[in-house]
């Protein structure tokens, strides 16, 4: 235990920018973002995958970055909340969150946004959820019950839930950029 900790080189693309890092193997993707890249948008609410505040998109899919070792994500393509706006223009999800007052303290918001982005993509792929009545046919659009179930991995203690749902519902109708293109 007195030996220096094991480290590894880690290459990551974050919001389209390449990074080459040398990290302690124990460093999670979340801590790599927050403590090594000064990207503190992704939040640490529980550090155990139980709250969703750390949600980012890794290779296009929403994941909880607190449970991914950065070294295991080597070569990965990551989008965090800082990558959602383009040229200062808010992503429709972001502007709908502001308009619907879909947050209060704001601490879960980054995770909610990234999760919503990944979730809408899953819906568009026709992935069913536990509330989907017809498994084979898949979800019947961006309905409130589908949004609620699929967003339940993102806790909000301020309980902005109804506004989160209405913001996502609206963003899904105005969204023009394909969700999967955020690489």
């Amino acid at each position: 235990m007195t030996e220096p900790p094991h480290r590894s080189p880690v290459r990551l693309s974050v919001n389209g920018r390449p990074y080459e890092l040398d990290l302690d193997n124990r460093t999670t993707l979340l801590d790599a973002l927050r403590e090594h890249l000064a990207l503190t948008g992704a939040k640490k609410g529980c550090d155990h995958g139980q709250c969703g505040s750390c949600t980012v998109l890794l290779d296009g899919r929403r994941v909880k970055s607190c449970l991914v070792f950065a070294v295991a994500a080597d070569g990965g393509d990551l989008v965090s909340v800082e990558g959602l706006a383009e040229d200062g223009q808010l992503h429709p999800l972001q502007s709908c969150f502001v308009e619907h007052d879909a947050f209060q303290c704001g601490y879960c918001t980054s995770g909610q946004l990234c999760s919503a982005l990944g979730m809408l993509d899953e819906l568009r792929r026709g992935w069913p959820s536990v509330v989907t009545a017809d498994l084979a046919a898949g979800p019947n659009g961006v309905t409130d019950p589908e949004i609620r179930e699929r967003m339940s991995g993102n806790l909000c203690r301020c309980a902005a839930y109804p506004h989160i749902v209405s913001a996502i519902r609206e963003a899904a109708t105005v969204e023009t950029r394909p969700m999967g293109s955020l690489r």
Binding site: H6, V68, M119, P128, R148
Partner: protein
Amino acid sequence: MRSFRYERSTDPGRAVALVAGEPDAAYLGGGTNLVDLMKLGVARPGLLVDVTRLPLDSVESLPDGGLRIGATVRNSDLAAHPTVRRDFPVLARALLAGASGQLRNMATVGGNLLQRTRCAYFQDVTRPCNKRVPGDGCSALEGQNRDLAILGWSPQCVATHPSDMAVALVALDAVVEVLEPAGARDIPLAEFHRLPGERPDQETTLAPGGLITAVRIPALPFARRSTYRKARDRASFAFAAGSVAVALDLAGGLVRDVRLGWGAVAHRPWRPRLAEAALRGQPATEETFRLAAEEELAAARPLTHNAFKIPLIRNLTVRTLVDLAEDATDPAERDR
């Protein structure tokens, strides 16, 4: 968290050699449980062998109508797979009832089977636990045990296996394909997880260093009429208070065949074979279903805080069987 070496393997044989070569090595899959336990100090591997890039990420239909699922297939991909949705809805529904969207995107099939109990005492290194430290004592036996076992427990351990997916798989007679240092073999899922007995630290029959490479589901045409029912207080993102997997084959009002699985009741996903035997050939009535469930539950020994699981599992079993039986006769939409 102890410092660990990290190796990434693209060859299953090489991965097994790496892990078998070190007593404190572990496989890293989706990480959703292992990373959690490493942070808690419950797991302290010195070497992690990352298996997520092994070529084990495909779902193949077998010629007889069965399915082979690679060990690194992510839970969400498996749940969304068209064949699974059509032929084994119980499996898709069980997967979708588990965890959250993000976690299902991460968790692998192999890792899901190997996840550890969520018993609060196991997860807290400041409290005695025989599973974590053999001989330490079981804090849960007389502690907060609402979520824990009613079947097959021992005084050494009353933990439950937390998986939803495994409950569906055990009902479907799934077989776990493993690669061990001594070679490859098949282990029926019903024999993969052990009951705690005197050695709650030994959770599976997998040899040390063994790697799950795939899970095989034999053909079961009537599994197209199958479903999974999970009860929980929170409407989503919660482990089961109790769950049932059911596939039902009816002929002329009689139960021709049936597959059952029970979750959150034991140290392993529970296959209620007594209940199944009591159902085969019997009329598909609520009364038959109840008697069958009660026959299996006669062996249940509730703990201080979980006697409710007996009526819960009985009711869920009866209701799910009734719903499937009604579906078989009346395609009109059910009321849930």
